[in-house]
Symmetry: C2
């Protein structure tokens, strides 16, 4: 069994990682159909020792595909995902467009692969910070019963895309030459700075990104009463996100048990040896499939609370890897091939 796969946004940062990870994980590919804007159509993508021609992403391009992974932003997903589904092509969507639709499963396979049973053609891939945070929080939820948590994010520029990664790179090089480069992707300089804005602002003063942790966390973990406050901050780091979390649980917590729960969880790697200055850091967790979880300690504010620190590759667990894991889970459940 091998699949005919569309990749929408193949030239972007996530698209490139998708190809690399599919190869690394020996995903069974019968046909790769790279899809992008009309501008990129005709260019070539190498995969599995073969060249595949980039085609324009338009409704007919999805004919005959088993599934497609969309990583080209919300408006492209809104326009084309229904067209793909209409043509019998399952959509795994990296954008935020469909995540909160009641009939769209929002899936992190280590947590809620069972939600895939209810899909109607579109499956949403979660927000990157949420996916990475839950690699630390979900095993603790299983052990102690999560009720609420605070999260402060330290988000890499990869979350904005390849252009933002080039902007940080260019600003850093300009700085070394004693020059300054005006920001284009971000509203402010990101090199040696922090921008406490990720995504756009809502009326209530939160950014959309900050509300994703709450809304997506509730949906993925089936916890409608979960309470969350998040502050999202862009930091001068290339591609792994980190999150400082303080969480409250229903039952009394135990740090030794918490460590065991993290170690046993497939999406997490326990990295928690303060005496030897070992804790997760973005430079160490860029290019790793598992997210690093460390700094585990009893929370000094909540009664049944744990504080922790998580780092994980935004382009991988935060995007491309989770999307492939969704495809793998669908495959394992026998739900991936065209009817």
């Amino acid at each position: 069994m091998a699949y005919r796969i569309g990749i929408v946004g193949v030239t972007g940062a996530v698209g490139q990682e998708l190809l690399a990870l599919m190869a690394k994980r020996n995903f069974p590919v019968a046909e790769l159909r790279p899809l992008a804007s009309a501008r990129s159509a005709g260019s070539k993508v190498t995969y599995g020792g073969k060249e595949w021609t980039v085609q324009e992403a338009k409704p007919e391009a999805f004919e005959g595909l088993d599934f497609a992974i969309f990583s080209a932003g919300g408006s492209i997903s809104l326009a084309l995902a229904p067209e793909a589904v209409k043509r019998g092509c399952i959509v795994i969507d990296n954008s935020s467009a469909y995540r909160m639709f009641p009939d769209v499963p929002l899936v992190i396979p280590e947590i809620n692969a069972h939600h895939l049973a209810n899909h109607k053609g579109i499956i949403a891939n979660p927000n990157c910070s949420t996916a990475i945070a839950l690699m630390g929080l979900y095993p603790l939820h299983q052990a102690f019963g999560l009720t609420r948590f605070f999260a402060s994010t330290y988000q890499a520029v990869s979350g904005t895309g390849a252009e933002a990664m080039r902007e940080l790179d260019a600003q850093a090089r300009a700085w070394a030459k004693g020059e300054t480069l005006a920001p284009k992707v971000y509203p402010h300089t990101i090199n040696f700075n922090l921008i406490p804005q990720v995504d756009s602002f809502l009326e209530d003063g939160y950014t959309k990104e900050e509300m994703k942790m709450l809304n997506e966390g509730r949906k993925i973990m089936d916890l409608p009463g979960l309470k969350v406050t998040t502050t999202c901050v862009r930091v001068p780091v290339f591609r792994a996100h980190s999150i400082a979390i303080s969480a409250e649980f229903e039952r009394p917590v135990d740090i030794a048990l918490a460590r065991k729960a993290i170690s046993a969880f497939p999406g997490a790697e326990l990295c928690d040896d303060p005496a030897n200055k070992k804790y997760p850091m973005p430079l160490d967790y860029a290019g790793k499939e598992k997210c690093g979880v460390g700094r585990l300690r009893k929370d000094t504010l909540f009664d049944n609370g744990i504080s922790l620190w998580v780092s994980g590759d935004q382009l991988w667990k935060g995007a491309a890897l989770n999307a492939i894991q969704i495809a793998e889970a669908l495959h394992a459940q026998g739900r991936l091939a065209r009817k």
Copy 2:
């Protein structure tokens, strides 16, 4: 009235800022006695158009001084502050050595200048993250009654000292040349990375730095029942610290009132216009006396809660400026001259 002033650690990052700020604020200086290790003795410091010779910091060096500001680390303060006091010299100590001593006032002049009345010769200058966080929290406490808060810090390398600032600079320059420079000051690379460790670890998994926010916050604001959880993280930023805070209050909160309280507070500048992408950022608050407070919004976890974001110059409000403000407050209270 002009003072005979000792500066211990005059060659360090904070020492240099002390001189610059004393000049900027026209502090009345009769004699400047720069004090440093024996190694630096004999070198010259220019202040007020005059050259002053650096002397070795030893007990006799404090004879005849009105007051001395110590910025040379805890062990120097422990060894020499009592010697200075014995000689009639008031000590304003930047280290953490005396902060929690019951007979040592720990002072942020905008908050608790009245604690200076009880000093026995040593006055402690607070931890940098605590001082900067309280520029946002204290006016909210006055308005609504603070009960507990979460803080995640984004701490600049200046907090470690001049050598750490040079390390980030050198790592960034090496990176631009395609080279890597092994870390010396920090246990890990800081450029394009995050280090979730500031100061050393305690038995319970917290760092000393993380407990300062709790212990010093309680003492400065006279709130013995205050609950705090902090995660402290070093970020690749040169000299302003930032802190994401979610705080709970006794009384119902109102964001318009919160903004007014921040605007009216002398240590803070309201910088909170998300629609125009205005919020505090470290690049904007390096070299500013006031700390920037923004991202004010009703907290989605606490019932009477506010989330906020503060940036402030670590070397200024986090160290040198607050120390000078303590001297100015003592002067205003008529407590600074030798008896």
